[in-house]
């Protein structure tokens, strides 16, 4: 089945498009995280993923890291928020099982905007004097070409293979509604393709409704869509369902040791 030119497929078919070694951009926990697709990635045994958190992540990154799917984690932070440290992330970094590319939120946004604009780099204020500049061999100090002596950092473009996220709905033509979550629009523009799970597919044309069109991502950027009701669970979708706080607290407790983490995976179908 396909709406317009964008295929609508099963969550496992969608996850299978993420090849081993792919760089995938994902949103923060509060914003339309494709958790059902994340479990599908773990089920299919994805390997060597380069996860780019835009700009931070939580349980999604922790699950993928714990399940051995991740080789590179690029992020401004990984945390379970009020529930504390992300246990699998923390353990993997300390034991060097993954390569951590510590970044800072605006650097990730700027790197994606560079790709969005087809630019090889983007300048950014701040950063100079932080140890991030020391450890990021790919960030460079440069000079403002319009003012001698004004030092400024330049960052290389970040070009993910896929942007992977969830949305309240797609329309019959494959357009995706995202409302205020415009970092997902930028992510999709910057990536080679977007893989999107949706609560539902509505038989409407988003582009015919000016109110909806302004908060949408055109099908043009979407590689494939999978219908996934409650697809952000145990995280929430603003205005539709709350995060499952009990479940998340249980995860935070269980995932602190390897056995508990494996139990969790087995129990929750990943």
């Amino acid at each position: 089945m396909a709406f317009g030119k964008t295929p609508v497929e099963s969550i496992d078919a969608l996850a299978a498009r993420v090849h081993d070694g792919a760089m995938i951009a994902v949103p923060p926990d509060y914003s339309f995280v494709a958790m059902a697709a994340t479990r599908a990635l773990i089920r299919r045994g994805a390997r060597d993923l380069h996860i780019l958190a835009v700009p931070q992540s939580g349980i999604q990154a922790d699950l993928l890291i714990g399940a051995g799917c991740v080789t590179i984690m690029e992020t401004a932070a990984v945390s379970l928020g009020e529930l504390g440290a992300a246990p699998q992330f923390t353990a993997a970094v300390k034991s060097s099982r993954i390569e951590i590319r510590d970044s800072t939120c605006p650097a990730i946004h700027a790197g994606l905007q560079a790709s969005e604009k087809g630019l090889p780099f983007m300048p950014l204020r701040g950063l100079i004097g932080s140890d991030l500049m020391r450890i990021r061999g790919d960030w460079k100090e440069s000079e403002n070409p319009f003012e001698e002596g004004d030092r400024i950092v330049v960052l290389p473009a970040l070009k993910p293979d896929f942007a992977l996220f969830h949305s309240p709905f797609a329309d019959r033509n494959g357009n995706i509604w995202l409302g205020r979550r415009r970092e997902l629009v930028t992510m999709a523009h910057a990536a080679k393709g977007a893989l999107v799970t949706v609560e539902e597919i509505r038989d409407i044309d988003i582009m015919e409704d000016e109110a909806l069109a302004g908060g949408s991502l055109p099908a043009l950027y979407v590689t494939a869509i999978a219908e996934a009701p409650k697809g952000a669970w145990p995280l929430g979708v603003a205005g539709q369902y709350e995060p499952d706080r009990e479940h998340l607290a249980n995860y935070a407790k269980k995932a602190t040791d390897a056995d508990g983490f494996q139990d969790y995976l087995a129990e929750h179908g990943a």
Binding site: G81, G129, S130, E183, R245
Partner: protein
């Protein structure tokens, strides 16, 4: 008339709120329940000034252009105050949000630098907030500089540290001397208890001020509207640390 009783959390909310009075726009980042409550308190008692943008809140968030807007807005000079924490904070106001030990093989790993390496440079009034005030946190030199407290002359830096608020005291920061100065101590503390628990050297005024307690109005708001609103984003915090009326 006895002063009303208050908790340490309530005191810290009030202390930070006082630093925000009169500002136009305060933004609050991730994992910041007390600064978030302080910003809402400042707004509540001034009839809507300052604007408050709480990230990850839908209700108290003026941004509509995605997650980058906070950072762009700060660079435009439209954010007057922001908050940073730190697993370690040192006497030169450097903050470490990455971990303890030699990077990348750390003994303790924190969440990460978030927007610190940028916002610390661009927001005029960055308030460092870390309740735990011990030699473990307040160190002589951080293991990793997520964001430096000061920058050499000539580097573009309209922003920087304004104060450091802890469970024990308030420090102001002297940019020229690149040192903290004790501004006031909370009830139950002495200059000696502060020195004993601080790993860096700091300046002291001739007379030590006591941090004034929260006003009855402040407490009423914290236990009412402010608490209810902060619970949207930090339900666990609101449940455990605020006694909502």
């Amino acid at each position: 008339m006895n002063a009303p009783k208050y908790t340490k959390t309530e005191l810290l909310i009030e202390v930070i709120a006082r630093m925000l009075d009169g500002l136009n726009h305060v933004a609050v980042g991730a994992s910041s329940p007390i600064p978030g409550a302080a910003a809402l308190l400042a707004r509540a008692r001034s009839g809507g000034t300052p604007r408050v943008s709480v990230l990850s809140s839908l209700r108290h968030n003026d941004f509509t252009d995605g997650a980058r807007e906070l950072f762009d807005c700060a660079a435009q000079g439209r954010i007057d105050a922001f908050f940073l924490g730190g697993g370690q904070i040192d006497g030169e106001a450097n903050v470490n949000l990455v971990g303890l030990g030699d990077y990348p093989k750390l003994n303790v790993r924190f969440a990460g630098s978030y927007g610190s390496a940028y916002l610390y440079f661009l927001v005029p009034r960055v308030i460092l907030f870390r309740p735990e005030h011990s030699r473990r946190v307040m160190v002589s030199k951080v293991d990793f500089i997520s964001a430096p407290g000061t920058s050499p002359p000539g580097l573009y830096r309209p922003g920087g540290p304004y104060a450091l608020v802890t469970e024990r005291c308030i420090f102001s920061f002297n940019k020229e001397a690149c040192r903290f100065c004790l501004q006031s101590i909370h009830e139950g503390e002495t200059v000696e208890s502060i020195r004993k628990n601080t790993g860096f050297d700091f300046d002291c005024p001739p007379q030590t001020l006591q941090t004034p307690p929260p006003s009855a109005t402040a407490l009423e708001l914290i236990r009412g509207d402010v608490g209810i609103n902060i619970a949207e984003v930090y339900p666990k915090f609101a449940r455990e640390f605020l006694s909502l009326s």
